[in-house]
């Protein structure tokens, strides 16, 4: 069983995609993060949803969450405004969140070993440098164990 038989489509955003589009995708698909690709369609990094929160929440509240109570959170429009005109590249953390990448020809057990080692819930699958999609840990467990 090879990566190319396990791979599934996974939502992807480009570095230059609008930050609001990426946020919509996180919300609609109920994902903890997105795969970010570069201008050539090659996997670049992960955009964790928590990173969008870092961008939204005022710095003084991040320093001391108890100050959140003095902030009028009804102003969703003001939070949204901080994303307007920004790109995914603007949201990404300074220290890139690395994406585990496997080759379309890797076996299920190789991928399991990589995910186990890196404690990763997701790997990107590339064929000749091009992103095919991703394999999640639940998908891999399903196929490895064939649990009824």
């Amino acid at each position: 069983m090879l990566a190319r038989e396990l791979v599934e489509p996974f939502p992807v955003v480009a570095l230059e995609s609008p930050a609001l589009d990426a946020t919509r995708l996180l919300i609609e698909r109920r994902l903890p993060g997105l795969i970010v690709v570069d201008a050539h369609g090659a996997p670049h990094s992960v955009l964790p949803g928590s990173q969008v929160l870092r961008f939204l929440v005022p710095a003084y509240v991040q320093e001391d969450p108890s100050l959140a109570r003095v902030y009028d959170e009804a102003h969703a429009d003001r939070l949204c405004a901080s994303l307007a005109g920004r790109t995914v590249a603007d949201l990404l953390p300074t220290k890139r969140v690395e994406l585990s990448v496997v080759d379309a020809g890797d076996t299920a057990l190789e991928i399991a070993a990589i995910m186990a080692k890196l404690r990763s819930p997701l790997v990107a699958v590339v064929d000749d440098g091009r992103l095919l999609g991703a394999i999640t840990v639940s998908r891999l467990l399903e196929r490895l164990l064939a649990i009824p």
Copy 2:
């Protein structure tokens, strides 16, 4: 907007739950991990799906994933067998994966600050020490931003 208005049910396993039941839940719900509760129903830790893989994949393959090719991966029954008779407590890593916990009365912005700080995709919500459920980062973004 308080945690109690944001909380959603989230699959939970007990420390003493069978490892195979927990694995089935990861697969069926397509989750990257589960919340583990102790004997009193209080949040204990997270069981990441990748930790189940650590348990399944032979140690020599984890050391050197290229050795996966010499292992006959058709034997899913043999992999399953390694989970039989085990509990969730057996699967958990020695170093506990901490679960962020918030109180039912915490505000959405407080929770956002905590998730942003801890880079967590999920928080457990407790009321009087009892687990009510969880709030995911996508749920929180949805409610904070009210993006159409």
